[in-house]
């Protein structure tokens, strides 16, 4: 697992806000964030839906600030229009952490199987650039994703497998 304190230190330098809907794959990181909400610069906004989180991040981006968004990949099914008719269309930068549910490890969770299968093609069809976030190389991957987000002024994604931001 990535050390949550190192991860928080990294993101609070680059993002002023974090918002989203949780997945157990983010459990330890989100617990650490919540425990440190008072002394971190990044502001945490809870959301009722993933498309709402994209909407909030869009308002933040219209003000020249940046939001990191976290969601389960099932939430990808909720954000198509928020991406294509808002964040991508209006050129609003934001970084999405998507949990990668539905892989072999999730074989007891049939609700994630199909999204697990179509997750990457889905991102490709939506023209969202994406990378994997790994325990060993996360800083480089975060930097690459953030750089593309800024250069293209558009949403980008990182896929987060089990064990990377949770135990």
């Amino acid at each position: 697992m990535i050390d949550p304190s190192e991860f928080l230190t990294f993101i609070e330098k680059r993002f002023q806000y974090i918002c989203g809907v949780p997945c157990s794959f983010f459990k330890e990181f989100l617990a650490y964030l919540t425990a440190h909400e008072k002394n971190t610069r990044i502001k945490h906004i809870y959301s009722t839906r993933e498309d709402e989180a994209i909407g909030i991040a869009s308002g933040i981006a219209f003000s020249g600030k940046k939001a990191l968004i976290y969601m389960q990949n099932s939430g990808l099914g909720n954000i198509g229009d928020a991406l294509t008719s808002l964040a991508q269309l209006y050129k609003l930068p934001m970084l999405m952490l998507l949990s990668y549910r539905g892989l072999e490890i999730d074989k007891d969770f049939p609700e994630h199987s199909l999204m697990g299968e179509v997750n990457e093609p889905f991102l490709k069809v939506l023209k969202v650039p994406y990378w994997n976030l790994s325990e060993d190389n996360w800083e480089t991957e975060m930097k690459t994703a953030t750089k593309t987000m800024i250069e293209t002024s558009s949403p980008v994604a990182l896929l987060v497998e089990k064990g990377v931001l949770c135990q």
Binding site: I45, S58, S85
Partner: protein, 189 residues
């Protein structure tokens, strides 16, 4: 009752120079673009998200008023974001619901808005609100001025008559909307 574009026109004299407007997709954005000072955040799509966008803008611009103008169809599609906004209650966020009980833009099909008791619903969010049913023009003028002058997060729900002005489409591509709006914000902050 007034028509939507009449209410939007009436807003003009209550707005301050730095006020930010977010308008929901369809007729409302078009009317906001043609009638009110430019540039603002005119949503062309993302139905259901105007309050979420307004919340993001309000949090990042604490010294400016952010007014979200939303149709009932948009409001209902993003009903959850009214609870999120009420949870954070940014004092500079104001929401104006123009309720014609219809998806007017797509041909006047009914929404399910008529089932809601807005006074009870908004009251349950523990926020400041006004529910103006079948209000006269004078009452609406008064309510708009209260909404924009309020020092707390507030919502004004107005029943309106259907009807629109024939207006050209918004001339700016969304990328141009972003550019112009960001330039305006950079100048005023």
């Amino acid at each position: 009752m007034m028509k939507g574009f009449e209410v939007i026109s009436a807003l003009k004299k209550h707005l301050r120079k730095d006020d930010i407007i977010v308008s929901s997709n369809g007729n409302i954005s078009r009317e906001a673009y043609h009638v009110l000072p430019r540039p603002q955040v005119y949503l062309r799509g993302s139905m259901g998200l105007p309050i979420a966008v307004g919340l993001g803008l309000a949090l990042t611009n604490p010294k400016k008023n952010v007014l979200v103008i939303t149709g009932d169809g948009n409001f209902l599609m993003g009903l959850g974001s009214s609870t999120t906004a009420a949870y954070y209650k940014p004092r500079n966020l104001k929401i104006l619901i123009l309720d014609n009980m219809k998806y007017y833009t797509t041909g006047g099909q009914k929404t399910v808005s008529s089932v809601i008791n807005y006074a009870k619903f908004l009251d349950s969010l523990n926020i400041e609100y006004t529910d103006s049913k079948r209000a006269s023009q004078d009452q609406i003028e008064h309510d708009l001025s209260e909404l924009l002058g309020s020092e707390t997060f507030s919502v004004l729900h107005l029943h309106i008559n259907e009807g629109k002005k024939d207006l050209d489409n918004i001339a700016w591509h969304p990328e141009e909307i972003t550019d112009r709006f960001c330039t305006r914000l950079a100048k005023s902050s």
